[in-house]
């Protein structure tokens, strides 16, 4: 599904966010991306939806050379994947309903389809009662769930989640992770960048740890910290 080969990314201000990263993600995989703050997780995801273009190396998503895309092709790529942005990126002058529906509209979905799918998805993330609110009228966690709903509403083949539960309480977090797991079992490839140790430790999925823009560890059925199980913590 995803093939990242020898990719480096240097931002215009000179910061080297990724340094010769090579990573293969199979179709239907569920992968956690962990690593300390500022280590390049979001940057790696940005490469996959063409929000950043690698300085070196190549990126293939679902058979498409993403780093070579231009114009309408970029839009087409983005319509085929779902992204939960770390900072949500909700449209402030649209309601929750409209924000989610917008992602369907751009795919050219029919109105009937939209009117069936949007409420179902909002229900999944527990926001049905907030569908007429604007983002500024939502709590942090509710905004985050709106962003999640928007990402999954199109049943994308690839779902990129950047810190999807940073503003959610443990119950909501568990529900959302269950939801992602269900989506994954239906065949969607899911990549989750997260800092939430207990989430990673409980799920026992593939864990890739980045440090300083490089891949540090890559474990099947891993933990947040290499070899440490749920509930255990490093040092004190």
């Amino acid at each position: 599904m995803i093939s990242i080969r020898n990719v480096s990314l240097t931002y215009p201000n000179g910061v080297r966010a990724l340094d010769n990263v090579t990573l293969e993600i199979a179709k239907g995989d569920f992968l956690f991306l962990v690593g300390s703050s500022g280590t390049g997780k979001s940057s790696l995801l940005k490469l996959l939806y063409h929000d950043a273009i690698p300085s070196h190396g190549e990126i293939v998503v679902d058979g498409i050379r993403v780093d070579k895309l231009r114009g309408a092709r970029v839009a087409s790529l983005r319509r085929h994947l779902g992204v939960i942005f770390q900072d949500f990126k909700l449209l402030n002058d649209k309601t929750v309903w409209e924000n989610v529906a917008f992602a369907m509209h751009v795919t050219g979905a029919h109105t009937r389809e939209i009117e069936r799918q949007v409420p179902r998805t909002l229900d999944l993330v527990g926001l049905a009662h907030k569908s007429r609110m604007f983002p500024s009228e939502l709590s942090g966690g509710e905004q985050q769930r709106t962003a999640i709903a928007r990402a999954i509403v199109n049943n994308p083949k690839l779902l990129l989640c950047d810190e999807p539960t940073g503003n959610l309480d443990p119950e909501n977090t568990a529900e959302i992770m269950d939801l992602l797991l269900r989506i994954n079992t239906k065949g969607t490839t899911v990549v989750v960048a997260t800092h939430n140790q207990s989430v990673v430790d409980r799920m026992r999925k593939r864990v890739v740890r980045l440090e300083d823009g490089r891949i540090f560890t890559d474990e099947e059925r891993g933990f947040y910290y290499l070899g440490l199980g749920q509930g255990q913590v490093l040092s004190g």
């Binding site: 231009r70 509209h105 751009v106 109105t111 928007r150």
Partner: protein, 293 residues
Amino acid sequence: MDWGKVKFFLGEVGRNFTRNAGMQATAIGTVAVTVVLLGLFLFVRLTLAGVGDRLLKQIEISVYFHTNATPAQENHLRDVLRADQRVTSFTFVPKAEGLKQLRRQTQGSIDVSMLTQNPLPDKFRVRVGDPSEVSAVADSLRGEPGVANVVYGKTIVGRLLQLGVVLRRVSIALIVALLCVAAIIISNTIRLTVYARRREIAIMQLVGATATYVRMPFVCEGVLHGLLGSLVALLILGIGKAALWSKLALALPWLELNGTHVALLPIALQLLLVGVAIGALSSWFSIGRYLRT
């Protein structure tokens, strides 16, 4: 075409409008005053042209006969004048009438009692439809039999014609300049409304909207700005004319402003067109800056 999509699209435009009402009103206000300026200028220009035309049409050619010209020669000239397409009207002024008029003109300062004989000849007064042909008509009459002299306000006609030409050129230049000014002002305004929403534009693209998809509602909004702004402008102009025109006509009766017909509908249509075109084009281009392709 899916009717649901059209509805969604229109809804999109409508929502943008109502949810940023303050900003939209600001933009429309700017378009309105700009178009008012443009309209005012067009209107003044047409009015001035009308007044100038009428002034020029009042210019007369005096055709003086020799004192010994025969009635046959005079009748011949009458036929010539009647046949000339360029001549709109003419009157015959016999010498007696001419002396009366001269006396009236000089307001009694000439001691006419001292004249043993009327020194004035018979003459025709001739009016010409197209002021620029006055001199040609005068020249053609000069050769007719019995005609001693053909006189008209040569300097005045020349100057007025010259002024007309220059004013026409200047006003075309000014219209172009004003159009540019209007375009700059309106497009700057629309650019700022787009700038204020650059974040939303970026997000729409990140969610998979194509450039065209993002652009269309903005362009429609620009059209609406232009349309509503121009309509407001037309309203203002209409009210302004209703309130001030009669006063102006009353203050300057000799300009005969009420007689100067200025076709308002074409002006209104032009203004609407200009407003809409500038609105659409400037949205189209301003949003281009914030669209990453």
